[in-house]
Amino acid sequence: MPRAVEQEAHAGVVLRVDSLSKRYAENGPPALSDVAFEVRRGELLAVVGPSGCGKTTLLRIVCGLTSASAGTVFLDARPVLRPPREIAVVFQDYSRSLFPWLTVVRNVMFPLRRTQASRAERLATAEAALEELGLRGVARKYPWQLSGGMQQRVAIARALVSRPEILLLDEPFASVDALTRAELQDVLLRVHGEHRRVTIVHVTHDIDEAAYLADRVLVMTPAPGRVVRLVDVELPRPRAQTATRSSDRFLAVRNEIQEAITEQQALQRGGERQ
């Protein structure tokens, strides 16, 4: 164990998932089977796979909301047993995760309630976080008064305001329209690049989004959820919607991901027939 810790600190591994398995019912099918990977400090790791591959289950186990049937998650070499304060999560359904009885700025201030800072300081921090996410003039509004895209930005601002080590996003842009999605992708990239260098794990079913955003892409397939490929994206930053997406490398990456998934689906169908 001590050697592994040394190695991890050396390699800059902030999150290590070790042989994770999850079964919901005693004799039911496994949702996750022997999932293992590492997340390096400061990278943006995308987790992509078709519906039902256990991405959300994986994310919930990583952030401590659900427990695994077998295996462990290590955060800074310490096992995750309950939701750690170093991890912040952004859920897909923003309209249900923002507290409707609080204004936008109070929502963003909420994670800071335990800190020693004065109310004025907390307010300033929250407003700065909103600024970073490109939100102006919405502080005193209620979440429902904002558009979907803006609400999701508020959710991201709230997640980042306490300076977490890791930001987990569970299909955060799936519920907004395509144009807003592109906008939000760029916001996320900017936030990741600018002053934060926070480690991001981004779960999505959108292959293009994964390739566009990530440093590395973890490809999963369903039944049971397994890691089938880890793709190094190796696209230059900063990325741009048109330039990056039309590059050869982008195409190669997204095709590699697509093939990995298609291959698995074929294998499965073949297996079923037998």
């Binding site: 999560v89 359904d93 409707p100 009885w101 209620y142 429902w144």
Partner: protein, 260 residues
């Protein structure tokens, strides 16, 4: 009539019908005077004499005090218990048969027990009202807490919210719309139990006033007393709505005026 004119005329229609009914009543009472159905004018005339008197007003004050105390105590207990039960599935299952049994107990059956326990004084009234208020509030609070979305729960867990803080800072505001629904039901229950307890056990109060007038066969005063109760209920309801609208401003905006 244009559509918008018709829409504007609608509230007036209601008032017009109401006045028409009153007018009919009045005409009938004039034509066939009967002591059981006094004219509305006679009732109002009597009321205008009785209501401003210090006796009646002190009755009103007594009733309001009992109502206030019982409502606040019952609501407080209901919300507190509801928050606790709502947060724990285990506790809820454990307490479910007991709560259901208590809830099925007609509030009236508490009155004789309350009389035996507390005598015929103030404590009896307040206890009976509090009992009746507690249950709708409790049930609706539990419902409200159960309905808190999984996303909010997960977010709260990630934000390191402990059990007490969760109940007070998350569950309570999230459940507030549902709690208010229960509080509203409890308000009419409170008025009803106030009247019942005053029929049975009081030396004063509006309920006692009505019952006394009935024993004296003062029909006009009985009608007047009932009219007063109706007005009181109406006013209390309106006040409640005003408070609700202010407290739940964030909710109305989120779901729209008609939603709940």
């Amino acid at each position: 009539m244009t559509a918008s004119a018709a829409r504007a005329a609608r509230p007036l229609l209601g008032a017009a019908v109401f006045l028409a009914v009153l007018g009919l009543w009045q005409a009938e009472a004039r034509r066939h005077p009967s002591y059981l159905f006094p004219a509305a004018s006679a009732v109002l005339e009597r009321a205008s004499h009785v209501w401003p008197t210090s006796e009646f007003l002190s009755d009103v004050v007594s009733s309001l005090e009992r109502l206030g105390a019982g409502y606040v105590i019952g609501a407080g207990v209901g919300v507190a218990l509801g928050l606790v039960l709502g947060s724990s599935v285990g506790l809820r299952r454990l307490l479910e048969p007991l709560t259901e049994l208590l809830r099925a107990t007609p509030a009236i059956s508490i009155v004789p027990a309350a009389i035996v326990l507390f005598g015929l004084g103030e404590a009896m009234h307040v206890a009976v009202i509090a009992f009746a208020v507690c249950f709708p509030v409790l049930v609706n609070t539990v419902e409200g807490v159960r309905a808190v979305s999984p996303e909010v729960r997960d977010t709260a867990a990630m934000l390191q919210v402990g059990p007490v803080e969760r109940a007070v800072r998350i569950h309570l505001p999230a459940a507030l719309p549902q709690i208010f629904a229960g509080l509203r039901i409890a308000l009419s229950a409170a008025v009803i139990l106030l009247v019942i307890s005053e029929f049975v056990g009081a030396g004063d109060g509006v309920g006692h006033y009505i019952t006394f007038q009935q024993s004296q066969f003062n029909t006009e005063e009985v009608y007047g007393g009932i009219l007063f109760l109706g007005l009181l209920g109406y006013v209390l309801n309106r006040l409640f709505l005003v408070v609700e609208r202010r407290v739940l401003a964030w909710h109305y905006g989120a779901v729209g005026e008609s939603g709940r």
